[in-house]
């Protein structure tokens, strides 16, 4: 395999592999950004062309796929798909709203914190799929504008997602590629998240929070919600929360156990599927497993597969080394400038394009800088810069993250359209504030 990996490309018609792979890479990126064709189709075709044109052979293409990332994503998606059926997340949201006696600003705060915490352990899309409907229901009953709530939840999901290895796909990719553990993310990224949340919520308070009010009658309607009604299956709730807790423990102790995150997530998914199907006949089991697998975002999984191969193509052809050399030349090989540049470029790029292809490209670019900075162990500030930039940058615009679009979709169907430009006018500067905080954090802690 190693020999294959190092083998020279035999590109059709004797074309230069660097040119062919660069054209394919740019074309794939451009079509993904245009959103005219489903991104899994685009990445799949890009990957196929990398192989059929001869930039990569099949073994090299397969070697380029990070199966740890795919396993972790798939395992967590199955776990969350099963867990969410029991209604526990909605239970927590209603419980939180009642804890603050249905005061409008209190609810905004609680929903933001709940969103951030959920996002740290679930994917952001799932989190907002769970919290946005409750928010619209509650704000409808309170007779308050749902916009500040949804805005805060978008920010909270992307900020919270930055805190852990499993919170956001960029972190999963970085952790998997570099071998950073769940605890590494927890120790290095989680500490800055509360401060960014605090500042973000303070700004939201200044803009909208002071104007939020509701009548006693409206608040009383919220207090009449029975959070227990949200729990649709108590047994399933116990089973799924137990397995989720085991999986998180597994992530925490992964290093001493010599386990990869994908193994833990897939094992957890298998275990939960088993215990939720005990006592069922074969047909019922098939139907249940089919339903659970059906909720996995296969478009995202296949997008990753294609993307890994496209990036492997440009890596194999040498484009990423050229990019890395260019970055090092630009920054003069200074770690501080390089880290801050990666943080800011990642943030701005992630605000306007999908952060997944960006991070997939940046990982090998940063890996190529190891020799400049005295070895792979010294690259840690760059990884945290990339992770923070990619995750927080998603807040910069409505298209910055999938979760943002999910919230906008719910809002629009409920008659509260979130417009692109007005959102960005507040979101982009606020995202930059979070990047300023992240810059200070990276500088003070690592540089």
């Amino acid at each position: 395999m190693q020999a294959d990996h190092q083998a020279l490309s035999h590109v059709m018609f004797g074309w230069d592999p660097l040119v062919v792979s660069t054209v394919l890479f740019i074309a794939t990126y451009a079509v993904v950004v245009s959103e005219k064709v489903n991104r899994a189709i685009v990445a799949g075709l890009g990957a196929g062309l990398m192989v059929t044109t001869g930039v990569l052979n099949q073994q090299q293409a397969v070697a380029g796929v990070d199966f740890n990332t795919l396993g972790l994503l798939t395992g967590m998606m199955v776990l969350v798909a099963i867990t969410r059926r029991c209604g526990v997340f909605q239970y927590v949201a209603i419980w939180a709203a009642k804890k603050v006696e249905a005061r409008p600003w209190g609810i905004l705060l609680m929903f933001s914190v709940v969103t951030a915490v959920f996002s740290a352990f679930l994917d952001n899309v799932t989190t907002v799929l769970l919290i946005a409907p409750i928010t619209l229901l509650v704000t409808e009953e309170l007779k308050v504008n749902p916009y500040p709530y949804l805005f805060a939840e978008i920010f909270s999901s992307n900020i919270g997602g930055a805190a852990t290895l499993i919170g956001d796909p960029p972190n999963i990719m970085i952790g998997s590629a570099v071998g950073l553990t769940f605890n590494d993310f927890l120790v290095n990224l989680a500490p800055i998240v509360p401060l960014i949340m605090l500042v973000t919520l303070f700004v939201i308070y200044l803009i909208w929070g002071r104007g939020l009010s509701a009548t006693d009658e409206a608040r009383e309607r919220i207090m009449q919600f029975r959070e227990r009604d949200a729990i649709t299956d108590v047994l399933l709730m116990k089973q799924s929360l137990s397995v989720l807790a085991l999986v998180v423990l597994g992530f925490i102790f992964a290093h001493p156990l010599h386990l990869e995150p994908a193994t833990i997530a897939m094992f957890g998914a298998g275990l939960l599927l088993l215990i939720t199907n005990l006592g069922r006949d074969a047909e019922e089991q098939t139907e249940d497993v089919h339903g659970s697998f059906g909720e996995v975002e296969w478009v995202t999984i296949f997008f990753f597969v294609g993307l890994f191969i496209v990036v492997a193509g440009i890596e194999h052809a040498g484009l990423l080394n050229i990019l890395a050399d260019w970055v090092v030349e630009f920054t003069g090989g200074d770690m501080t400038i390089t880290a801050i540049m990666i943080l800011w470029v990642s943030a701005v790029a992630s605000a306007v394009v999908d952060n997944i292809p960006f991070v997939a490209t940046m990982i090998p670019v940063i890996e190529s800088m190891a020799s400049t900075f005295g070895g792979a162990d010294n690259l840690e500030p760059l990884w945290w810069s990339l992770a923070l930039g990619a995750c927080l940058g998603g807040n910069g615009s409505l298209v910055g993250a999938s979760a943002n679009l999910i919230v906008a979709g719910f809002a629009e169907r409920a008659g509260h359209r979130i417009k692109f430009l007005p959102f960005m006018l507040v979101a982009f500067p606020l995202m930059l504030v979070s990047i300023v905080i992240a810059t200070a954090y990276i500088y003070l802690r690592y540089l």
Partner: protein, 155 residues
Amino acid sequence: MLVKDNIIHTKVTRPGMPVCEVFAECGRARVQALPFVDDRGNLAGRVTLKNIMKFACLPDYMVATAPLLGSFLSCVDNAQAKIEEVLASQVDPYVRELQLSIGSDEPAIKALAIMEKNDTSYLFVVDGGEYRGIITIQGIAEQMSRMYECSKQPG
């Protein structure tokens, strides 16, 4: 048993028809959908009760939070006004694409098989582009029940 033995004859919906007429006709004929005929008289789509309810009365967030809904909600107080608003509106925004249809001389078992395959409980009966009526699982079940009762009667 053929499709034509089970046809339920209904009116068709047309552009500009109020939703209240659709509800009344569906209730009378005990069907969940009616065909939609365009200005030229061509069969152009269908209007289903489920679709009208979904888009006129049920925002996504209510569906997602269904177990939490209760009689204390403000939308319950506004129900009468909402009903009047929905019934007075026109069917046009609720028209969906035409689904599979079946000919009246086809066997009823084929209609059942098509319904099962497409996860629906009704099919429009169309001969040569002309709407004849609707066949439903409920109608077929009633017909089967009548046949069974007849077979039990002496003589």
